[in-house]
Symmetry: D2
Subunit: 341 residues, 4 copies
């Protein structure tokens, strides 16, 4: 809280009451009396003023509005750390010059299919394998994932291909088992404000892929990263995956402008998931290219050898051939923005 705007009708008594409140918190007030409003600039270490105190001041008699100038997140901000964060995972540097590609099926279904997909995406140039063992599904009657069995398949794939594993955690009680197998722990869009889960992965020692919530503002998203970082885990990767809007032609609206916006606000790496963003496989390639052109540090792409039989999200999965073609086409775009892939 940095600026307090008074009501045009605020009384002298109300005014003094507010000043006293600030004083009691060790803050000074700089008063600007305009022709129509009086404004109080709050001077001192306002970063210690909590959201609660800000709201309390907002309801004091005589107050019209309170405006906070400082950003509510600290550790995640570029002001706190000017240099871009690079996260090194088994030699793959997320946030560095090379664009990292996390590819694989939506859900882990069986070992053979997964291995097959993994070998194909590796050949095409992917640098991470992804696949859900615990799946958040809108219906309780849908396939919910293979659980630890699926995690074992992912580990087997890593052993054979060398690709590090990205997989989702949905429940704090699964932290141990996920940590045993994952190289990067994914927090899904629906859990972006599951604050307990965020605190939990803050102590995991693993890099976190934090997907943007369906209706999360960029500020709220950075606050979610701040939750993880406040527990000591500075390795957070932000993943834009589309927001909910009125448009129904695509599954979500991929907000690519979030990429340059985040590059200004935070030092954390930013990746884009065009598969969930658009929800239709034939729109994935153009949006993957656009994401790289906009400055993304990486891509998350769903690939399946047989989309028509996939147990989850087949509609938005690329076939290995299409994925390989896309990887080839991304090369000159990455080069055009001073990156490689």
């Amino acid at each position: 809280m940095d600026i307090i705007v008074l009501n045009p009708g605020a009384t002298e008594k109300e005014f003094r009451h507010i000043l006293k409140k600030l004083e009691s918190r060790g803050l000074q007030a700089n008063i600007s009396k305009g022709t129509e409003r009086t404004i109080i600039g709050v001077i001192g270490d306002t970063s210690k003023i909590t959201e609660e105190e800000e709201n309390a001041i907002r309801v004091m008699p005589g107050v019209e509005d309170v405006m906070r100038i400082l950003k509510p997140y600290k550790l995640a901000s570029r002001e706190f750390r000017a240099e871009s964060t690079i996260i090194n995972i088994r030699g793959n540097r997320i946030g560095g010059r090379k664009i990292q590609v996390i590819a694989g099926p939506c859900a882990v279904e069986n070992k053979t299919i997964l291995m097959n997909i993994a070998e194909k995406v590796k050949e095409a140039g992917a640098t991470f394998i992804r696949g859900g063992a615990f799946k958040p599904r809108t219906s309780p009657y849908s396939f919910q994932g293979l659980g630890e069995e699926g995690l074992k398949y992912l580990a087997a794939v890593r052993k054979k291909t060398g690709l590090p594993v990205v997989t989702e955690l949905m429940d704090p009680r699964d932290m141990k088992v996920i940590s045993k197998y994952a190289d990067i722990i994914q927090i899904g869009a629906r859990n972006m404000q599951n604050f307990r889960l965020l605190l939990e992965v803050g102590t995991s020692g693993k890099p976190i892929l934090l997907k943007r919530g369906l209706s999360a503002t960029i500020k709220e998203w950075l606050m979610a990263a701040e939750y993880v970082m406040s527990k000591g885990n500075q390795n957070v990767i932000l993943c834009e995956r589309g927001i909910r809007t009125f448009e129904t032609a695509t599954r979500n609206t991929l907000d690519l402008s979030a990429v340059p916006v985040l590059k200004k606000l935070t030092h954390l790496p930013v990746v884009v998931d065009p598969s969930h963003g658009v929800g239709k496989w034939d729109l994935v390639a153009p949006m993957a290219k656009a994401a790289v052109a906009a400055g993304a540090d990486g891509l998350v792409i769903e690939v399946h050898t047989n989309p028509a039989e996939a147990l989850s999200d087949g509609e938005q999965s690329l076939r290995p051939d299409d994925f390989m073609k896309l990887m080839r086409e991304l090369k000159p775009i990455a080069a055009a923005v001073g990156r490689e892939i």
Copy 2:
């Protein structure tokens, strides 16, 4: 999945392949050849077709679109159960003729304040006490609740006032401790699609107050209820608390039309939380009245004896006097729609 629309250019072979797929699932096809499109009506027990299979058909060659006629939720639907559900909690019947009012502070802060608020809201006619002991906060640096200490204060309040207790569960690991004290377990908006938490409370034996997610459609909300009900817990109360839109004049946009829409689609009781819906105390009273007029079975209202010192959401809390005035003003509106309060 009930209707399959073919591409104008679908080949005979693709067409036969789709028919074979349906046959293999024990389903029959009724074919309508129009001038511009061929449509397949799928006959048989299509409710057994999973979302996965639906998506798989959607990506088969020759298919343009797949439309599901049946609703994806069952136990929650009015078709499954025509009679409105009434949930009896210590004699207070939610969903009955009497409008239930759940009132109290956003967060439990200390025993004296809570008791004071509880006695005042009881006197005014509230039938439940609410208060968070575990608080979801957008900032990790904000007050996160008193934990079990707060639950004990709520129980003490119940003992003294007789008001049953509504409090939020954020983490499956807190289920035991919450169940020990709560009469109704609240699932907050940010956890509406925390599917593990939903399954957990499905086995709790306690009625669930399920808040609508910030960007949840009514269908997704009913699917979340279905998660709880699929575990055997039929006592779900739906709570409209505002959705996220482009408008910033209010904290959220309270979607009161959800009340009559839900009354058609489901047999579950529907309550409205105008405090979170609008986020400003002086808008709460008109929206509470509107909610009752629209047919809500209950209200959730934040009340605090000293909003300017509240540790959470002071901005939207009513003072006890304003709450008492509101309760008086609600009486003739309830009567006008054939209810009492």
Copy 3:
């Protein structure tokens, strides 16, 4: 523009350049140097600073943000005029104690049907007849209205029933013909920011029913009213009719909280159109009741004797019997909020 926030890295030279700019505009600066930001409070008659100048300052080197404290609308604001505006149209006072009901078909189709509807809604208690002679339709192949012929039917209805006429203007070239027949000129949601049309009706001498745009904020809506008022026409009636959100269970999301928000911000009367807001006839009655409970000054309701044959919006029209029942049910709700109907 009242507050200028400087970049943490703003130089002394940039700072002085900004101060000089303010001086050149006859404004004074009150400087608050905080620990992390410097803030300039601008003192003087800032209402004369245009949006252009505000934006110009925003891009000056050293400026991080510019915040405007004063509202951008003046004539429409409650601060400009504390007393609520009442608009008297042939004895019906919009904004007074009595809730006004504007009823009728979406489009004027033929004289007999219109007269029949008008007589029925009058009998039920409606105080205005509505009907479109010029219709905005999403498809160029849909019925576009009868034009002046339709206006003549409306005038005939007024002559027989005494109900004043509300009808929409879509094109500045139709101002003359519409003015000849209408008592209130409606500006539709899609034209809320058709600024030329707003200026045109600002000189019409007729009261204006200004519908909220599908994605208009309350502030933009008041700016649209300001356009009309800036030309000398103070008789603007604001009509909430639903905004566009992600929810598809209703045609739009009726934002009833706009009613109490507007009552604080403006002195203009506020009416609600639940028919367009929800788009389904069986949701109209509960939302009409909710609108009155929320404090609306009037209702706009579509009524048709034969919705299944209506040339426009049959889906959301009430039959005369249902309308009569609704009018009866609204009486005790109006009484409960100190109004009559």
Copy 4:
């Protein structure tokens, strides 16, 4: 309208009544009786069924829902015309291999500034000059444009530089004067559903740059194009410029996925305006690159020699140097997607 879903409780009489209605329109019915619903597939030339008739059937007793299979637009659809439309304007082919760049100030302010900007953008490779002579502004107190004077300056610029002119039409009464000077007539976002204006430019004989409305779905946007085309003008260029969402970090949310979606649905050229899309000059370059990578046929970019003194939208204007740098950087991206710039 192609599919009618009956209520589970529809009576035999209601069913026969619906069939008779279809018959009376020369349509046949193909009936699918499922276990839980009966579905009627409507066969025949359903494209002649108007929206009104569709709505009328929707409210017939026994009907639960009506689903339209065919798209409501025809002339704009790829099915109607498979080959992509290329619009040739003084030798610049919009929709061809070369990406067209429309650059210039938001508003025409004076002749010298405009000429200066035009010469600089031409040098950098722009192929069209843009500038508003009639400006839609949210405030009636803001600069509204120079009118015909501004158009004359644009014509002078064209004479000197050879750049064809793009300028906005806001009012049907200005059609003649705009047509006298413009090479492309722009319809702004706020007028996308100003249907009278659309019909007017349908007879103008000039190519139309049709900006997407702030809350327009892609389908509604194509319907707006259909309005223009229904009057005989097939030269419509669609311009994505951001939609309104809950996110406030950018002025609008630029929906780049609209580009590949449109490329499937329509043969019309698609251009992108990143300046309005993001509203901040330093986000324009990454989003311009992303737009080209996503497959856009052109760009609309605001350029001003002195953004801090611009009378409109200075905040989002590039300086000529930045624009020149961007044009250079776009070259390899255009090449990567098989285009040139």
